[in-house]
Symmetry: C2
Subunit: 529 residues, 2 copies
């Protein structure tokens, strides 16, 4: 038990208080199931009384059996001056019908007197009464001591009394909250240690990231004896967010041998994080520890050289342990070895010193200069290398395309594209309507090419991203388009850059189609051999 | 002095090793000047021998007088087995002609034997020789002990010997590097304290963020006696990045009364960070502590209520201290008070309970539901409220627009837009070419409207952002466009959402123009009163 740390995820509650986050009931259920699969112990999901969405969610969850996680409702201590049974919020909390309930109360004397404007003694009764009442209803209570660290600094004796009131009420856990997120790890360590040594119940930690130290503060509290870590799986929450559990969990499991989630689930950390990000419709910061796209990307030449000799020379852990990948980036600081390994996939006979290698490196640099980024667009890199090496034959020739866009009135679609292509000396003209010019063009191109290449029917785009470069040139700015495609078996990525979003999309679309056709031919050859 | 912490910024060197970063010489000069203005002590800018860009940069910088910052070149200890004077990299380092030089050397025995493959003794000589040679040339040496903490853990005695070699060579500073970024604050504290107590020279700290604790580790080192903090101003660097100085600096200045930058410059922290982000062409994470767009944004109803009573109830510092702003977000969890304050700007007679207030809240929710986000698009919110309250008269009527896009051949532009508008029963038709459909449409619209409203000539767009929502619908996905406009005096933001990027841009463009015309009228009225 000493080496087990209980993970309490509040993505659905504190996470929903983040700017830009708005979950549907369906979203909340999907995230609950993903957290359950990882083996998170508590999933805090809101209060059925606070809004109809939460009510609906708890209703739906009654029909779903979780394997591991304990669904937890969240609410406040009773209001001042009334009995618990008359408090509407607490009554609605009971409607969630969860065995576990998180109750937050005030631990900072200033908040009691100046924000909720009641007496210090009444606040203690509010904490104790509320917990005793819920305990009596058969609930397990997690007490969140809001602003505990600020309270401790301002009036240590009173802050400790609020914890005592919770213990006297029957709380199972005392969770110390750095609600404003401004504390430092050494302070957190000392104060948490004092609490751990003072009470007979288990202690948890809930940190916000306003000083950029939520993860470190959480770790420090664990080192001081805390046994529960609260946070959100991707770190988002009110203001700068909560402690990022996707960082806290591997830090504790890999560096301190403390078990947080199910035994074999750490290797699903990256995919789970990306899945939750997709549902929450947020993009994960590329530099996010462990799960970010750059977390194990190496750019400096000496770093790449080192990692090739021994991965731990420039990696704190092996990326496979958290389901992430090592990547070597192509750039002016990375030297030629990364590019060379890509070239040799196309033509193994090419060596470091050959002219071809240099010409390809120069070509990629030119492309980078105008705004291309090849990281995450391997299909485009392969096509560029093939073209330069003469190992490429175009699958079609564009005669022209024209797009007509107009303000939508009677028409279902706002754009119409027509396109003429030539394949093996045969012309094909097609027309398609779409939501916007790129969608219309995409449809028209496929329609024309499927006549010659029916296998393209299996291909569809799974992601389409637009990045406006030099944004201060406004609508005349350069645009980078990234496209992810799949044929149901493989996934590949392509990139296009232009000052015209249609042209940038066109480049990436064509690369996507040509890559698919190329791989099909390669596969047929292999099957033939 | 005890309360002064020396800031060493390596945005131009370690920062350039981040994925997606590529600085031009011009970029590097701009960032150097911005850091100088803030009062950063050291600006590490690369090695003239490593690439021609750095060479050009140091050449250009010779003509520029910095007010405060000390330009610092960066290089490695000499290679094994050769005298310092024969080492090409070190000779090219001298070409930078800086008074201050940062030299990194190996402190982890494993790296010496397995990566650079030399003897432990030779490595000590490499450190001492290199520093003594440069010292003799009149340089001040900052010694970066690469992988110091890993080395200390693996072979404490040897790691300490590498520092001694640097001191014997004449280093002014010993900088302890957590190169792989995996250490925890309490370890950093203890090891740094041991070093501070063991050597007569000043100690610095250089942390990477692979465990999400670079800022906390940096702070812990300062608490153990380190006097120099290394990092990058926005936190980007190799892999997960370096300690983020825009977090470290306010943490130390505001919470520990340690002076890091010029007295009055902390209030420019946010604007400087955003300026550097613009040059580096990266977007600042919204939840970034102190400088992020959400750092002082409040969404939960109780938080908003608390901050209205006393800002420190839910803010660890006052946002004005770092030049950031407090924001109250409109959303289902924030309740009506935020929306109400926006409504009352338009019509102060409307109260909380009025039907109009409810109707506007419902309207905004509908818009949010289809993908609008009003955070950061105040002009659009005001226009929506005016329209709903009948306090709005359109400035023009669109008859139609048509856009023709085609594959660029002979034409300079790829898109042509023509548009017909009606103002006060007078039609105007105009045509314009552009880089892409949105640019053409933007130009044509302005051309037509300037006939009636010449004041629009002052307006131009300063930012244009595209966010593809539900990205898995690919090119048919919903698109949100955010536009920032200025007339040279004021700045305002508008938003549009549609499945068609042209339509989404059109909505935001029209709002931008109408908002400008509306504000001009209001101003004239005020001047008249």
């Amino acid at each position: 038990m000493k080496n087990n740390i209980v993970v309490f995820d509040t993505t659905l509650r504190d996470g929903a208080q983040a700017e830009g986050i708005s979950f549907s009931v369906e979203d909340k259920i999907k995230i609950t199931l993903a957290l359950d699969k990882m083996g998170v112990t508590y999933v805090e999901a809101g209060n059925p009384g606070s809004n109809p969405k939460d009510l609906e969610y708890f209703k739906r969850m009654k029909e779903i059996q979780l394997k591991h996680a304990r669904l937890t409702a969240f609410g406040s201590t009773r209001r001042a001056g009334i009995p618990v049974k008359d408090d509407k919020n607490l009554q609605s909390l009971l409607k969630a019908n969860t065995k576990d309930v998180a109750i937050f109360g005030k631990s900072w004397d200033f908040h009691v007197t100046d924000i909720i404007k009641t007496s210090l003694d009444e606040n203690l009764s509010m904490i104790q009464d509320t917990i005793a009442y819920l305990k009596n209803k058969g609930k397990n209570i997690i007490f969140d001591a809001e602003h505990f660290f600020d309270g401790y600094k301002n009036n240590q004796e009173y802050a400790m009394k609020t914890l005592k009131a919770a213990v006297d009420g029957g709380a199972e856990w005392l969770v110390l909250c750095d609600t404003n997120g401004g504390f430092f790890p050494l302070e957190i360590f000392e104060i948490t240690k004092h609490v751990v040594d003072s009470f007979p119940v288990k202690v948890g930690i809930h940190c916000h990231n306003d000083g950029g130290m939520a993860v470190a503060n959480t770790i420090s509290a664990v080192e001081a004896g805390a046994q529960q870590v609260q946070g959100t799986f991707l770190g988002f929450g009110e203001r700068c967010g909560n402690a990022n559990l996707s960082t806290v969990i591997p830090n504790l499991q890999l560096k301190r041998q403390k078990s947080c989630i199910l035994g074999n689930q750490l290797q699903n950390l990256t995919s789970t994080a990306r899945y939750i990000a997709e549902i929450a419709n947020v993009s994960i910061n590329e530099r996010e520890p462990y799960i970010g796209n750059c977390a194990f990307s190496h750019k400096g030449g000496m770093h790449i050289d080192g990692v090739n000799k021994a991965h731990h020379s420039f990696e704190h852990v092996n990326p496979t342990l958290v389901g992430n990948e090592r990547r070597f980036l192509m750039s002016e600081v990375s030297g030629r070895s990364t590019v060379l390994s890509e070239i040799r996939k196309v033509d193994p006979s090419i060596t470091k010193e050959s002219d071809e290698a240099q010409r390809i490196i120069d070509l990629l640099k030119e492309y980078e200069h105008v705004g291309y980024q090849f990281e995450g667009a391997e299909a485009t890199v392969e096509l560029l290398i093939r073209k330069k090496l003469g190992k490429y034959k175009p699958f079609f020739q564009l005669k022209y395309y024209k797009i007509i866009g107009e303000d939508q009135a009677s028409n279902e679609y706002s754009s119409t594209a027509y396109i003429k292509v030539n394949v093996n000396n045969e012309d094909e003209i097609s027309i398609a309507e779409g939501n916007g010019p790129v969608n219309a063009l995409d449809k028209a191109l496929r329609k024309a090419l499927e006549v010659f290449y029916p296998e393209l029917k299996d291909v569809h785009l799974t992601d389409y991203k637009v990045r406006v470069l030099d944004t201060n040139d406004a609508t005349a700015a350069t645009v980078r388009v990234l496209i992810e495609s799949t044929d149901g078996v493989n996934v590949w990525n392509t990139v296009g850059v232009s000052t015209d979003i249609i042209k940038a999309s066109w480049i990436a679309l064509v690369d996507s189609i040509e890559y698919k056709l190329l791989k099909d031919i390669e596969q047929k050859k292999e099957a033939f051999l």
